[in-house]
């Protein structure tokens, strides 16, 4: 088949030189929009056996068009009858996009809907990108914080270790925990999922215990919406730690809903100046009341970073992982040049 990879409106790219080779080995044709990989450290010259063209030509010549974010497609009307594969979770209104796709007879697969099963993990872009974001959240915090992370006893006095609180110990949260621990911080984390406690402890961090979480294992790994009482209780327990924290990373997302507010303004007001909050849930409203999506604001000397796409700052690694996810997905859904049936679990859950 004929695959076209668009240049995205951000640094990442959905195909790396090594995956392009694999595509070609499978017998597919690969076309890439010019300069698509440049910002990820993949100049066009790194790709071999690949056609480069303008976006217009790309759309004309290819059956399947891929991008990192669906927002990079631009006007959907030009993709009539094509197949689109991308991350559609960035769309503010899902229903609207669905209608539009139907209107243009576009078949679209949303890679953010890959089910969270062991077998599908190699296609799961949310997992792979969340891991990178988690790492970057701590690096960014360290860059912004006027303190160093590790405890240090020197002739010029002793420096206490930085306190990091991570809210939401999913993929991103765990990676943030691991990175902060590596840098020598004291790390505490909270998450309503029962399994999260063991997972947090397995990284050597402390878990902030809150009783009474609603557990729903049928949700396939996504967190379920928690009761009001629970959220209140959690807020109280966590607030204590937050006020003393130097760095807070929040990742708490609830599938298909607005992110819960875990850090109200009142808490931020009580934190010490210089502290840093990294809110990875900002795209769905943010876990901090003051978060502004895609912005860094300062409130009483406290910096609040609202960014759900930190992984794109790690464009090189992110593009590598993303394009592997894409490749694994294609390799799974296309057998002998045909799509496998829609009855397949993974395919059907991705189809918009």
């Amino acid at each position: 088949m004929n695959f076209g990879f668009l240049k995205d409106s951000e640094a990442r790219v959905s195909i790396s030189p090594s995956t392009s080779e694999k595509f070609i080995k499978l017998g597919h044709k690969v076309s890439i929009e010019r300069g698509a990989g440049l910002l990820s450290g993949f100049p066009d010259s790194d790709y071999e056996g690949v056609a480069f063209s303008s976006r217009k030509d790309l759309i004309r010549n290819c059956d399947i068009l891929l991008s990192v974010n669906s927002s990079s497609y631009g006007d959907l009307s030009s993709y009539k009858g094509k197949i689109l594969i991308s991350n559609f979770s960035v769309e503010p209104d899902r229903n609207k996009i669905k209608k539009e796709l139907e209107k243009h007879k576009i078949i679209a697969y949303d890679l953010s809907m890959i089910p969270r099963t062991t077998i599908a993990q190699s296609m799961d872009i949310l997992s792979s990108m969340a891991g990178l974001s988690g790492y970057k959240s701590i690096i960014k915090a360290a860059e912004l914080l006027p303190k160093i992370f590790p405890m240090t006893i020197t002739a010029a006095g002793s420096i206490k270790p930085v306190k990091v609180v991570v809210l939401g110990a999913g993929v991103a949260g765990l990676q943030a925990i691991a990175t902060a621990k590596r840098l020598g911080a004291i790390v505490e984390a909270s998450d309503p999922r029962k399994a999260a406690k063991e997972e947090v402890l397995s990284l050597g961090a402390k878990f902030i215990d809150v009783e009474g979480a609603v557990e729903d294992s049928s949700a396939g790994g996504y967190a379920v919406k928690q009761s009001k009482e629970y959220l209140a209780k959690q807020k109280e327990e966590v607030s204590k730690r937050l006020i003393q924290a130097d760095v807070v990373v929040t990742t708490a997302q609830v599938f298909g809903a607005k992110s819960p507010i875990l850090i109200p303004k009142s808490i931020v007001d009580n934190m010490s100046p210089g502290s840093v909050i990294i809110d990875l849930a900002s795209s769905t409203g943010g876990n901090c009341e003051l978060t502004q999506d895609s912005e860094v604001i300062e409130h009483n000397g406290i910096k609040i970073v609202g960014n759900s796409y930190l992984s794109s700052e790690l464009s090189h690694d992110a593009s590598n992982l993303y394009s592997n996810n894409v490749y694994n997905f294609i390799d799974y859904i296309i057998k002998e040049n045909k799509f496998i049936g829609d009855e397949d679990d993974i395919l059907s859950s991705c189809k918009i």
Partner: protein, 458 residues
């Protein structure tokens, strides 16, 4: 001269046995003991005796014949059949004692005056114990070699029956001593044979090594008894030594299996015990601390497969420690990292970096799957789903299609986990029931701690 040689042989036997209790010197110990034995045989042949007859051919013929046979058997037997072999040998030792006692008793029947009563009692005791060792060992052999019938010999109320049998034998012996009659002797011998069978019959096949060790100490005791009769002190001492050592060894073996000796002898229910956990999937085997340690220690290549359990136990540093111990003993160690091991991408990397495991020791899935074939032991620490063969074999498994670490291609695998419970995907793992797999249960931190101290003792 001969007395001195006997003394020397006694010393060699003791010292040889002593050296055999340490892996580093065991082989030397065995050689020493065998030299001791040859010295003893030689002395017995040359020692001056009153009214001695030169029946040298009667001695040399069986000696040389059995030497050749013994050598041939030992050379051709498979390593895995060793315990069977030992039990047959032990049976032969018992038989030898029976024949000897029988011959002596025969003599007594002919010249009753030349014998003290004590001697006769000792002779009959020796006859009895030898017979038990003989048939018991043969049955143990049959059980070990997996003959089906051997597991079905047990009678109901076996223990009561055995008690009755013993009483009968004692009674008959008393009768025989008071009125010597050769046919009575035959009955005693036959009943003793039967007793030997019934003694072993109720004990489960898995406990056979313990039984053999016990029967071996029985043979030792008959040797000692015969020693008294022939007035030979080396026989006496060697027999007692083996009797004592065998008894202690039996107890140690029971301890290693977490059983009491009584428990083993009463037997019966024990054989189900080991397969209890297996459900219908087959049997699992547990490995003991020191067997695990020795297995690793004498390997040339070991691959460690870390999983979520290693992180939960926070045992990464111990894992590194074991890596270092083994590496200083020229074992090549690698870590096979499965892409989804743990609970977050790169979980194992974080874990092993914390323990400062060198990046060059980490291998990825594809490379690991090439290397397992040349691996002696694959050690799976707290991993489960990532080594589940169903991902390849069973299309109904939720893991089907996931690339997996084919650990079972290594010569043997050992799985460290706390129980038989499932991993993240919630499915049972057929690996645990494979023939070349052994389980090492316990929290990974404690398990590795145990393993590490065992390794340091080697």
């Amino acid at each position: 001269m001969d007395k001195f040689l006997f003394l020397l042989s006694a010393f060699l036997l003791v010292w040889g046995l002593r050296l055999q209790s340490d892996p580093a010197s065991a082989s030397k110990g065995n050689k020493l003991a065998s030299v001791g034995m040859i010295t003893a045989i030689f002395s017995a042949v040359i020692m001056p005796l009153e009214n001695s007859f030169s029946n040298l051919i009667w001695i040399l013929a069986p000696l040389s014949l059995s030497g050749v046979i013994g050598y041939l058997i030992a050379k051709n037997i498979k390593m895995t059949s060793m315990p069977q072999m030992v039990s047959i040998f032990n049976g032969l030792g018992g038989l030898s004692a029976v024949l000897l006692s029988f011959a002596e008793i025969n003599k007594w029947i002919i010249y009753p005056e030349t014998y003290q009563l004590t001697v006769v009692i000792v002779l009959i005791l020796s006859l009895f114990i030898g017979s038990v060792a003989f048939t018991g060992s043969l049955l143990a052999f049959a059980k070990l070699d997996g003959y089906r019938w051997s597991e079905k010999l047990s009678l109901p109320f076996q223990h009561i029956f055995n008690l009755i049998l013993i009483s009968v034998i004692v009674g008959l012996s008393y009768l025989f001593i008071t009125s010597p009659d050769i046919s009575l002797l035959y009955i005693i011998i036959i009943l003793s044979f039967v007793y030997g069978i019934f003694f072993v019959a109720p004990i489960g096949g898995a406990d056979m090594p313990v039984v053999i060790s016990l029967l071996n100490s029985f043979t030792g005791i008959t040797a000692a008894l015969t020693g008294i009769i022939f007035g030979n002190i080396v026989m006496l001492l060697g027999g007692i030594l083996v009797g004592a050592a065998g008894t202690i060894l039996t107890v140690l073996m029971c301890n290693a299996m977490n059983r009491s000796l009584l428990n083993v002898i009463i037997g019966g229910f024990s054989s189900n015990n080991s397969s209890k956990k297996g459900k219908d999937q087959g049997e699992i085997k547990e490995v003991s601390d020191s067997d695990f340690a020795v297995q690793l220690f004498y390997s040339s290549k070991v691959i460690i497969i870390p999983g979520y359990g290693l992180a939960v136990a926070q045992a990464q540093k111990l894992c590194k420690e074991i890596q270092e111990i083994l590496e200083t003993n020229d074992v090549e160690i690698k870590y096979a990292i499965h892409p989804v091991a743990g609970r977050m991408p790169g979980h194992m990397n974080v874990l092993l970096a914390e323990a400062d495991v060198d990046y060059s020791k980490l291998i990825e899935l594809e490379q690991a799957n090439e290397e397992f074939k040349s691996t002696d032991v694959a050690v799976i620490i707290g991993a489960n789903d990532v080594v589940n063969p169903d991902a390849i074999d069973d299309s109904t498994s939720p893991l089907y299609g996931m690339p997996i670490l084919k650990v079972w291609e290594s010569t043997s695998t050992v799985v460290l986990k706390r129980s038989m419970s499932a991993g993240y995907a919630g499915v049972q793992n057929p690996l645990f029931f494979k023939k070349n797999n052994q389980m090492y249960f316990g929290d990974a931190k404690e398990s590795l701690q145990r393993l590490s101290s065992e390794l340091k003792n080697l």
